[in-house]
Every structure is written in structure tokens, then in C-alpha cells.
Symmetry: C2
Subunit: 221 residues, 2 copies
DNA sequence: ACCTGAACACCGTTCAAGT
DNA sequence: ACCTGAACACCGTTCAAGT
């Protein structure tokens, strides 16, 4: 399928096209079968090819995931950010989350400190810019970006792992967290009882982000 | 080795002892060969046994990792926390990080929202208590704990992945993040140049934690 | 240049059988 | 009760060979 448009050129090869075919096949697996089912072997099968054929287009699995992120970020509509620096800092940090919240597989690629796709670099630039305009030095702006990134990465990791856990809840947890805890030693946790699980499942990303940004700005002045 | 002290009891089995032997063998692998080399098969080999013998003492690999965390947390000295609630909130959150910073393998077990080992539950209890004494409702205290946990989990994930990357830097990164970026589009990032990597490697956990806690407390009043 | 087949060096886990 | 051996159903990646 990938050499459909083979031409008569001197060294015929449509690598760009093949790469795109690989990426959309990978995206199809991601959408239909979930991140945990995307493997080089599964992907090769999806394309009626062999695993090693893929290595002609991507260096390794990590690069494949990075390219998928790149594509996803490029597709994402680039919203207009508020002019006011503090609001812009918050808005840019929110976009960072918005882009990644649809990529449960990035947990696997969360390797880098600075991540990531050039298609998403404009967000980092926006955060730095907004932080500097809020009165920070460039050094502190980088620091602020990193704190925001840690919060975002942590929220996404926990979020995706919870979703994955709920998806196949075949087996009960190793230990029921709350039940069976000694109320004498843990009066607050045990007093919450089932409320704990309920509170723990709420989407508080935005509110937490506001606290983080607020704390960073307070520190800078 | 694990049935060294077999007794004459009615149904002789020293499961507690065997479990401990398994855990210390696992810890030995972790220390000497790193988290990425701990597998059920490697662990069985370390004990001159078969992989399946282990499944008599732990349900699966996840439980093994949880038990290792449990042991590590239990060993950790429990520091005295400040009486002043706001300082206690920060101190408890710092201990959460201190305990986990020596466990690069928790990245694999970062599954739960609320994590984790009962041996470390006193920290969660302390955070909730300090948050409430700082004027939060119990609900907001849980929310505050979660924000702190996200920041901590993110910081640790990025930290460990960077360490792992530096450990075997056999291959260069897929793309040099900064070099090759268009200065017209990303003036701030490119202007930092090599400073970016330098800033990105700094340990800013504590400072960031202070910002996060500060932001949470500001939100609560 | 592009692709294949076989192999290397692994995984976690299940199952049936042994003692 | 505790352990083994073989097997299932996978991984990512290398290598030598094909066209």
C-alpha cells in the first residue's frame, strides 16, 4: 500500500508519503485499540508489512511517538492569547494541557525535561514571554515554565493511569486505600471515607493551575 | 535459600521470610543494576529460582513494587514537623518528595491518584491536617494534596527520566531542541542558547514547591 | 533504496504437573 | 504448600540477505 505511487524517477522512493502512511496507521491503532496496543509489530501488521520495514522511516519507537506528537500539535488550533501578561501566562499553560490531554500515549514519551515537538514550541515561547512581561527575569521565566510543566506532566500521568485502570478493572486493587486504615492513626483520611474517592476523581486541573501560576507570580515580586 | 529455616510445624512454610528474601533480592537488583533491570525473570535468577515461584509470594509485579515502596517508606526516618500549619504543610510536602526521590522505580507504579504505601500515609494525613489548620475545608485540603502530588509526581518523573537518559547517553537525541530553532519565531528560547540546558538541569524542586503551597494557601483565603 | 525472514535477547503470566 | 518446565503471547531491535 505504501508504494502505491511509485514513480519512474532515478531513485524512486516516496519516503514522505510512506512516513505519513505509517503515522496515520499508528494513529488508527491509538484511536481504536489504545496506547498500550501500539507496538512496532502491531503497526507493521496493520500495514501488512514487517516490523523492520518501519525502521526505514523512523529511527526507533521513541521517534515514532515524537512524530505523532508533532502531528497532533500541528493540527491543534492555535488560540489567541490574552494581551495581559498574567492572564496570558495562565492561558498558555492551559493550552499546554489542552493539547496533551488527548494524547494518553505521551506518558511513554514524557522523557524530556523540555519535552518536545517544535509544533508546540510556541507555547513554551508564550509562557516565557508572558512570564518575563509579568516581571520575571529570563532565568526565572524558565524556572516558572518548568514548575508549570511538572504540574502538567504529573496531572496528565495520574489522569491517564486512572483512565487506564478504570478501562480494564478486571482485578481489584492490591489494597483498598481507605477501608482498613486505622482511624486512630489517620483520623482525617478515614473520616472522609468514600468521599475520598469521590474527591480524588474530580477534574481540578484548572483550579490547581491557577494556584500554581498565582504562587509563581507572587514569588517573582 | 528461602526454605533454610524449614520447621517441623503442621504445615511448614515460612512465607514471611521468603517474602522478605524476595524483597531484599529485588532491592539488591535495584541498587546494583537499576530499575530497568528488575524483572520477575531476573529476580528469579537472582534467587536461583524460577519466575513462577515468586508468584506464590506476590500477586504480580505491581504488588512487588508496592511492597518495595512500603519497605522503603517504613525505613524512612519520620521527621518532626513544625507546629505552625503553613510551615507544616510545606514540610510535609517536602518529606513526600524526600521519600520518593530515592526510588527511581516508582515511576512505574505512579498509577494511583492517591498512591500508595500505608507506611507513607502519615504524610498524606499530615498534609490534610496542616491544610485544614491553615483554614481550608476538608474538601479543599484533599484538593491541595492532589495539586502537591501532581507537582511532586511530575518533578520526579522528569528527574528520573533525565537521569536515565544521562546514564546511557549512547545515542544523541532525535532533535537538538534549541539549536536549529528559528530565532524569528522563538526569540526567547533561542536567545537563551546553551543557557537553556543549564537552567533546565537545576534542582528547583524546593523553590517550586514553595510557590505551589503559597498559591494554594492564597487561594484558600 | 527498500523490504524480508530469521534471530537475539528479552518481557509478564498461565497452566498442568510434580514433590 | 511450594516449586518446576513448558508454553502463551507478546516486546524492540540487529543482522544478513534478498530485489
Amino acid at each position: 500500500m505504501q508504494h502505491r505511487t511509485r514513480r519512474a524517477g532515478r531513485t524512486g522512493r516516496p519516503p514522505r508519503l510512506a512516513r505519513e502512511a505509517i503515522l496515520s496507521a499508528a494513529q488508527r491503532i491509538l484511536d481504536e485499540e489504545g496506547a498500550e496496543n501500539l507496538s512496532m509489530r502491531r503497526l507493521a501488521k496493520e500495514m501488512s508489512s514487517t516490523p523492520m520495514a518501519l525502521y526505514h522511516y523512523v529511527r526507533d519507537k521513541d521517534e515514532l511517538l515524537l512524530l505523532l506528537l508533532e502531528e497532533h500539535a500541528a493540527k491543534f488550533p492555535r488560540p489567541e492569547l490574552p494581551a495581559e501578561p498574567r492572564a496570558r501566562l495562565l492561558a498558555a499553560a492551559q493550552v499546554l494541557h489542552d493539547i496533551l490531554v488527548d494524547c494518553p500515549w505521551i506518558v511513554e514519551v514524557l522523557a524530556s525535561d523540555d519535552l518536545f515537538a517544535v509544533s508546540a514550541m510556541w507555547i513554551v515561547e508564550s509562557i516565557l514571554d508572558a512570564a518575563i512581561e509579568s516581571g520575571m527575569t529570563p532565568e526565572d521565566a524558565v524556572y516558572a515554565y518548568r514548575v508549570i510543566w511538572y504540574y502538567t506532566a504529573g496531572e496528565l500521568t495520574v489522569r491517564f493511569n486512572r483512565e487506564r485502570r478504570l478501562a480494564h478493572l478486571d482485578r481489584p486493587p492490591h489494597r483498598d486505600q481507605i477501608t482498613g486504615l486505622d482511624p486512630g492513626e489517620f483520623p482525617l483520611i478515614t473520616s472522609l471515607g468514600p468521599r475520598w474517592n469521590e474527591l480524588t476523581v474530580r477534574d481540578t486541573h484548572r483550579r490547581g493551575l491557577e494556584a500554581v501560576v498565582e504562587g509563581l507570580l507572587a514569588q517573582a515580586t
